[in-house]
């Protein structure tokens, strides 16, 4: 066995995976960039139109509206989920009876089919017959049009996402808390540190990489988010709960303005890429 031949081995073993990724990601992605330079509808095209699709972006009010919805959605779900998830993890850090039964229950939402969650919340949030409005009526809050008003539709979507993904933050932060060596905590206790001091100087320091992983994964996924919008609000009313992802879907498969949809989606990709690269950089520097 020559040394040179051996050095080829890893490439041979990698080649099926690389071939798949080339065929299923690189080639379609390149093809999509090509589509952005074309006018393509359900019945016509592709006709090469240069950068015309890109020039539509600045004056497309819906693009900027849905971008705004997207940023609100991503920012607020991340903030709420982090706050609740960290709080929950700190609260349930201690031992208590039934912990081993309760934890798996907490994890369920993040595994469940998102479409199923969307349908369930459609029932829960029904303005007339839904139990959520019924409970709220005890507090004097009445008849909120959760999914059918521009005022609450985005909030509904955000709350559902929080319900599904706070458990994820809880799960990861809990794992982070367990990784803190007992000596560090004991030492801080001996030094007479208060609970908050310990939280700030020791716990948080150990949690940093865990929080970064959460930020990375949740940011990527929040930009992809479509299933629940589709099933709960359909992006409406108007575009009040339409994220950029969902806008791409509407332009492509409802309006069949495929060339422009490809352009919007490509821009979405670059928007996701920026924070992702940032988080990965910080993570791999550690």
């Amino acid at each position: 066995m020559g040394k040179r031949r051996e050095s080829l081995h890893p490439y041979i073993f990698l080649s099926p995976a690389l071939a798949v990724i080339f065929l299923l990601a690189i080639y379609p992605f390149a093809f999509m960039i090509y589509i952005t330079f074309n006018s393509l509808t359900a019945t016509t095209g592709p006709d090469f139109i240069g950068l015309a699709n890109y020039f539509r972006i600045p004056t497309d009010k819906l693009f900027w509206d849905t971008l705004r919805v997207t940023l609100i959605f991503v920012g607020s779900t991340l903030a709420i989920e982090l706050a609740l998830g960290i709080g929950l993890a700190l609260l349930l850090e201690r031992r208590f009876k039934g912990k081993r039964i309760i934890l798996p229950i907490i994890y369920i939402p993040m595994i469940i089919t998102p479409v199923a969650i969307g349908l369930t919340y459609r029932m829960l949030l029904d303005a007339v017959f839904g139990p959520v409005n019924y409970f709220l009526s005890f507090f004097g809050v009445r008849d909120i049009e959760w999914v059918a008003s521009t005022r609450y539709s985005l909030l509904s979507i955000i709350l559902i996402d929080v319900w599904q993904w706070t458990p994820f933050v809880f799960l990861i932060v809990s794992a982070g808390l367990q990784s803190i060596p007992a000596e560090n905590i004991e030492a801080s206790l001996l030094d007479g540190a208060s609970y908050w001091q310990r939280l700030r100087y020791i716990t948080f320091d150990f949690l940093k990489p865990y929080l970064l992983v959460i930020l990375l994964i949740r940011t990527i996924d929040a930009f992809k988010f479509i299933d629940i919008i589709y099933t709960v609000t359909g992006g409406g009313p108007g575009t009040s709960s339409t994220t950029l992802s969902f806008y791409g879907y509407i332009v492509a498969f409802v309006r069949w303005d495929v060339g422009y949809a490809a352009t919007v989606s490509l821009i979405l990709f670059f928007i996701v890429l920026i924070p992702s690269i940032l988080f990965i950089r910080i993570l791999s520097r550690r």
Binding site: A17, I21, M32, Y107, V115, A116, L119, T120, Y134, W163
Partner: protein
Amino acid sequence: MAEALHKRVLFTIGLVTILIFLLFPFYWLIITSFKPDALSLTYPPKFLPSDLYLENYNIALFGGKFHLPVIPNIVNSFIVGFSNMALVLVISIFAAFALSKYNFRARNNFAFFILSQRILPPISIIIPYYVIMSSLGLLDTLLGLILTYLLINLPFSVWMLITYFNDIPKEIEEAAWVDGCSKFSAFLRITLPLSIPGIIVVAIFSVINSYNEFLFALILTGSRAVTLPPALSTFITIKGILWGQMAASTILGILPVIVFAMLVQKHLVRVMTLGALKG
């Protein structure tokens, strides 16, 4: 003591509140599935079923006047999920072996290149998929979905398997090299069998990923190859939602995922972070 008791009571109340928030949606789903639609549309809502009404399940299983049964869609989801998983495992075991056991120059670049597919929003690639699948005649076929989901599960699986293979101590494999085994046969005989628990976790989770996927399934199927999520989503496009049938179909649909999830529950930290964290 008094303070401890007071704290424990508060803690218990907090815990119960959290559990109610988490579980009430499931409770409502179950309750609705056992109610005739007339009882779902009442105010105040009925929180307990009056009697055991099974017609919704009858329709979910065998179909009714307004809706097709959901079982064929669940079968489709299973076929897609398991076939895809088999393909994913074969391809990713080789790739992860290369990336875990060889030291070559571009190793990290390859690994990150494979992972970077995870960033791509599905909407950013689905348009060319639609065009390509239709020109290959793969629209509305299970094969089309089985291939498409490679894009989702391959990066996940490769990264997970790398961490599982790295977990096996090098010394055990090196002992086999001394006995005259080649690198690959040492891997096949030692690392691979020792990694089976990890491989099973990856397998189950890639089935869950396929099972839950919505957007590609919605766009790339039409009638014959429709999997569970797009099938469920059709309930809301019908005028006047059929709550009971929808709830029963949803419950039948998510039962398999809950079973799968129970199996991998201890490995969730690792799975949900693609092996970045071990939990």
